[in-house]
Subunit: 158 residues, 2 copies
Amino acid sequence: MGTKCGRWNPTVEQVKVLTDLFRSGLRTPTTDQIQKISSQLSFYGNIESKNVFYWFQNHKARERQKRRRKVLVDETNNDEDMRIQLDNISSNKQINSNHDTDERVIETLQLFPLNSYAETEKLRLFTEEYMKENMTFSCSIGAEMDHPTLDLRLSFFS
Amino acid sequence: MGTKCGRWNPTVEQVKVLTDLFRSGLRTPTTDQIQKISSQLSFYGNIESKNVFYWFQNHKARERQKRRRKVLVDETNNDEDMRIQLDNISSNKQINSNHDTDERVIETLQLFPLNSYAETEKLRLFTEEYMKENMTFSCSIGAEMDHPTLDLRLSFFS
DNA sequence: ACGGTATGAATGAATG
DNA sequence: CATTCATTCATACCGT
């Protein structure tokens, strides 16, 4: 918090929620979902929609990246390089993620019913502490996602 | 340049010119215009037509995106919440994201009359440095370019 | 203080 | 034109 906010600094609660959403399968939220998530997370501190957008982009990309490098390392460590890469796998609950487990979409994200500023502030301070231990959010997940299949073509240059 | 030259790395001058064109109202240049712009910008460094094409696509899309993902956060902000609003003006970047909406149209602009390679190279190196400070270009829009590196005007219809 | 790592932010390049 | 992926820049943070 003491940081000169030149860039977004997510709170632990925000990261927790985002991570939970990610673990529950959300990968590329739509603009609409981004708005909702951002709106919800603004409860814990300043946040913009683009922060949520970037967070998912980065998180997904870096998971992919990690996996790619792992494979690369596995190829090259035939005999001498047997240091631990495997515990990364076991500690990761991301098993069975062969299929890009996308397309599971969070339908509603209701963390708290926010009524008054006084209540929300108390709640914020409460969760801020409580978060540092272990709190599990429940997010209702639905299946939906229809987009109007747009088509278009590009001309090539060279 | 730590940049792996797998992809185009626009120079400051190139970005400046492209931005000026964009600000002057150009959004989706025709193939013809792309060719000319690319040709002109090749003066400052390697560039292909597709780079120009993509630049406009991206720039346009992201401006729209930026507008869509505009802050949205204001409820839940109250008493002690005097944070940001001002630090966004971190003077660091050349983004100079003046809240557009101006759509001002640059009428004329003359870059340089290029005569010899030696001169142009000196000029290039010069502007490369000078650019990093403060230089304002304006682009001549209107006439046709007939001889290479003699007339630096672009045709422009929008 | 540093130096390395984690991660926010940006953007070139696609794709449908 | 919307959306996504890959790569890179920038910076906060943390251990030594």
